[in-house]
């Protein structure tokens, strides 16, 4: 049952067909917010896929960043959204292996999906974010400090971090810009990146807990948040009050 809330907000979430994005979309929709979810897949039935009438899906494949940004801007028009309260740019992809074995195509692919696309999407939705003095939330990664086995992936996340740091200052009084860096989380991301996690996976944060922690950091409007284990645990019982995101 959807709980009653004071105000239903407009929330955009990229990469919402799986993992953190999928769970975030459902969590916000269950509180009565309107969610536009994006992904690279072609879905035949949004309602079946997400199980909520509050979630509308649009295809925006970020490997074509200009087209993805345009698709999102057009969807906003189609849904008659005049403002966005919260945009979570979450879609990302990775590759794992020795950096000398990363092909030019692979390097290009990750940079395009993880960095170029969010930059162009942020630009495309800027007017709508300004209209609500909304919040732009980038999803980074703790790999942002550097990772030998995910060199390009780590670089793209560091790119987002630098982007956010500078844009936050630039957009002061127009929209809030934050970045949240999850640590290893039990989604399918690693398998998709070609990494076998094995037993280590046990130590990863459960997806649901990571989602709680992300929502808490969004509510608190942190500038930058590393999702440590402690923060994850202490977020388990944190929830939005009436009227909060």
């Amino acid at each position: 049952m959807a709980r009653r809330i004071l105000k239903s907000r407009n929330i955009l979430i990229t990469g919402a067909t799986d993992g953190l994005g999928f769970e975030l979309a459902k969590a916000y929709a269950s509180r009565g917010h309107r969610v536009v979810a994006t992904g690279r897949q072609l879905l035949t039935n949004d309602l079946d896929f997400f199980g909520s009438p509050n979630i509308a899906y649009i295809r925006a494949d970020q490997s074509e960043p200009e087209a993805a940004a345009r698709a999102i801007a057009q969807a906003m028009e189609k849904f008659e959204w005049e403002s966005i309260d919260l945009a979570i740019l979450n879609a990302a992809t990775g590759w794992t292996g020795h950096p000398a074995e990363e092909t030019p195509e692979e390097i290009q692919r990750q940079i395009t999906i993880n960095l170029t696309a969010p930059v162009l999407i942020a630009k495309a939705i800027a007017p709508l974010l300004f209209a609500a003095q909304g919040q732009l939330t980038m999803i980074g990664s703790t790999a942002v400090k550097g990772q030998a086995q995910f060199a390009t992936y780590a670089a793209t996340k560091a790119g987002l971090d630098g982007f956010v740091r500078s844009l936050r200052e630039e957009w002061r009084n127009k929209a809030h810009v934050q970045i949240i860096h999850p640590g290893p989380t039990r989604t399918k991301m690693h398998a998709k990146a070609g990494l076998k996690t094995g037993m280590v996976r046990m130590f990863f944060m459960p997806t649901k807990r990571a989602v709680k922690a992300i929502q808490r950091s969004i509510r608190n409007r942190d500038n930058k948040r590393i999702l440590s284990r402690t923060y994850g645990w202490s977020s388990v019982f944190s929830s939005a009050k009436e009227g909060e995101l």
């Binding site: 630009k123 390009t152 500038n223």
Partner: protein, 253 residues
Amino acid sequence: MKALITGAANGLGRAMTDQLLDAGHEVWAVDRDTDALDALAIKSRGSCRVILADLANPNSIQRLMRDVKDVKFDLVVLNAGISATGRFEEIPGAAYQKLIAINLTAPLVLASGLMHQDNMAPKSQMVFISSLSHAVGYPGASVYAATKDALAIYAKSVRKPFKKRGVGVTAVFPGPIRTEHAERYSPKDAKANKRMLPEDMAKLILKAASKGKKELYAGKGAGAAKFFGKLAPNMMSKMMRKVIFDKLDSNTY
């Protein structure tokens, strides 16, 4: 010694190229500026091989990789870079795509490709030119700052795996340099004498590379910027906004 330098025709890259040539080394100079490359080739009487390449174009990078297939470099400096300054949301998307391609994709593809193709001599050094913005942020150039942070972290990520194959990695964080690049993208009233001369910066970088240093923060105020950037990052980006973004009166890309 054999060196490969990208963005070698002008500014900092040119200063490094000149110094290496003067010291009797062989330089492979990569740039898209044909006239400046010609001048380099003529001046150096053969010790400088010029390679015309547009680093925004993946095919051009591939061609460059084929051109140097059999060379073993002792030094590679991934220096080429452009910028885009102004209000983030007003600059065209195509300018950002080009910026990311030249400042980030190209050096990553080259670094990885040169390792893969076995182009690096034993005990060689690979140098990534990031920016002091890595320490202080850069409101008014958020995508430029993004590419330079990404490059810094890539350098950090590959340092160990490259070292295992005998290649050292140096990341350089230069403060403002007195080049055409800086003139173009800075507020009009910015003082040129607050910027280091490219020749001085080039000297520091080549020295750091020859010593195998991991990091070099160089230029006027670089030390202080690094210190305060770590200590009080928010204060530093606020200050950067005041000295740069608030004074930019036009978008340049």
